[in-house]
């Protein structure tokens, strides 16, 4: 297992290198990083020449890639063009916020989806099962931005009409969030709606997976063997069926989690959350390629790391794929 992980890590480094080259090339050829500055009236020729000099913008792409890679590795992706702001501290901040959002959304999605999926499978073709099926299709079909807006409208009106503040509809914190438990409550009230929006589609997908896996396992020969041994139904379900049914879901969740880091753009934009997605949109709008590339690299790393995690958990749960 350990050698397998090391091998996969080395392989990941190669993948990241290739990804970094592609990202750099595509972002660089897609536009002149200085066009925005050149169009701004108050910016002197001198400043532009300075920046060109500092970021080696006149060199061939491959050389510029070398400089960029050096900065990325030794100087945490360096600074932005405009304002020479350090990139990494900003990304760390928004990453923290996004992780809060995603982890909460995934925990909610996983617990609900597992319960729904298992119960649907155990009561196949019951009213509950049909309802769950219907809602999961609705959940999948609902556009995220629409749902987000509807929830905002709803809770804003609740506030306006009855003067009750249940959930906030924008930002991460109130003006004065306080400390300790007050801060946590304030954060929860702010994150609740984005978490709901983000988890809806995942609840739908995961519960479908769980239902399918559970049905397959329940009808498997080894569950029949477990029953034929005289085990209690609870034990048959928990020890023999549930654990096996979790295996495919684990992979899906791990892969999805990696993808979510970059996939929260819409939700964060609608709720004005200072997270990864929000940051990315701002970076794109600023016309500065450096934060954009840093963001892309970090999201790629996230996806690769969670791919690896998916494989490792799979190996732990299923002895048949334990790598050596």
């Amino acid at each position: 297992m350990l050698t397998y992980i090391i091998r996969r890590l080395l392989y990941s480094v190669v993948v990241l290198l290739v990804a970094s080259f592609l990202i750099f090339t595509f972002v660089t050829v897609s536009g002149d990083p200085l066009s925005f500055l050149k169009m701004s009236p108050g910016v002197s020729q001198e400043t532009i020449a300075n920046i060109t000099e500092r970021k080696h913008l006149d060199d061939p792409i491959i050389v510029r890639y070398g400089y960029w890679l050096r900065d990325a590795v030794t100087d945490q992706f360096g600074t932005t063009i405009i304002g020479e702001r350090k990139i990494m501290p900003d990304i760390q901040r928004v990453m923290g916020h996004t992780l809060q959002l995603i982890i909460a959304a995934e925990l909610l999605a996983i617990t609900l989806a597992i319960s729904i999926g298992v119960y649907s499978a155990l009561r196949q073709y019951s009213v509950f099962d049909y309802l769950a099926t219907t809602f999961s299709f609705l959940g999948l079909a609902t556009p995220v931005f629409w749902l987000a807006l509807m929830l905002q409208v709803l809770f804003v009106n609740v506030y306006l009409w009855w003067d009750i503040r249940i959930f906030y509809t924008a930002n991460l914190s109130g003006v004065d969030p306080g400390g300790g438990i007050d801060f946590v409550l304030d954060r929860a009230q702010h994150l609740a709606l984005p978490v709901i929006v983000l988890s809806i589609a995942n609840i739908a997908t995961y519960s479908r997976y769980m239902r399918g896996a559970m049905l397959e396992v329940i009808n498997s020969d080894y569950v029949r063997t477990a029953r034929a041994k005289g085990l209690k139904e609870r034990r048959v379900i928990m020890r023999h069926a549930f654990r096996n049914a979790l295996i495919p879901l684990t992979t899906v969740v791990a892969l999805n989690f990696g993808a979510l880091i970059g996939g929260v753009v819409v939700t964060e934009t609608v709720f004005a959350l200072d997270g990864m997605g929000f940051y990315f949109i701002n970076a794109l709008n600023s016309g500065d390629p450096y934060p954009v590339m840093a963001w892309l690299m970090i999201v790629s790393t996230g996806v690769i790391v969670f791919n690896l995690l998916a494989d490792i958990t799979y190996g732990i749960l299923d002895p048949r794929v334990r790598h050596d």
């Binding site: 080894y222 034929a228 041994k229 005289g230 209690k232 020890r239 749960l317 299923d318 002895p319 048949r320």
Partner: protein
Amino acid sequence: MPEPVLSIRDLTVEFSTEDGVVSAVTDVNYDVFPGEILGVIGESGAGKSVSVMTMLDLIPKPPGKVLSGEAIFKGRDLLTMSKRDLRDVRGGDIAMIFQDPMTSLNPVLTVGSQIAEAVLAHNRDADDDSARDRAIELLRLVGVPNPEQRFDQYPHEFSGGMRQRGMIAMAIANEPSMLIADEPTTALDVTIQAQIVEVLRTAQRETHAATILITHDLGLIAELADRVCVMYAGRVVELSDVYTIFNSPRHPYTVGLMNSLPRVDVDQEMLQPIPGQPPSMIAPPPGCAFHPRCLHSRGRVVCRTDVPPLRTFGEGADHLSACHFAEELAEAHVVGIGAEQPA
């Protein structure tokens, strides 16, 4: 004759499927006596597995449904027993060995823990250690080498034959008074089959369990079974001791089965397969379900209109056949029917 351990009476089981209602098992009756091996043979889909699994409530319901019947085991009806009581019987007094050892063991649990689980389920005073010791002892009994190491291995680290040994160990863990082996050798290589037959023999000797042995393998029947129950299209069509079944079968289907066997004692030009296809279980032929393929019916109307009951016919009380013309078969005899194929 001693009291039977198990009496199946008028068992009828259906499955509702998209294509219609499958009459998997219809009016099945048979007894199993202490210590004997009852062989159950019949084509694929004849209802062999369903008839035994229904007793332990192991068929999926729905789509399965028991329409009628009793399964009296040691004086109690398994079909009306409470779930709790049935759980005690499962793996305790009645144990099953399934066909496919590749899929019948849980892939994510060690083989040993799955056997120990069977021990723990039926022994209140067993703890993990004593269950482990017992499992290792059982593995040794069924001929698994290095049982201490094997205990902690996963099913994928076992070969097919070894897995089936594991299944057998699990089945005899609580010294059942009845063993049900549903095609225990079908999924295995021929060489392994012989070994598993030996293990089954050992298991049966150790436990003195009455055994139902379901198989397609007539050789296995000849070798192990004391009595034979022949099933066709969900019904029992012939029932007798193994010698009689092989030497003077009294149902055309059984006769056909015997003719499809290579024999050394009779000079045969070629093997005779039974003509035609197994019947649809959704709309079985009216009358005797075997009549469309029967070489003996010769178009007689009663075969197409009346379901023949399983009955004795003057050759002694323990030979039963469900053929309207069972008596005639005594004269025609096995070879005769094979020889005079209608043009």
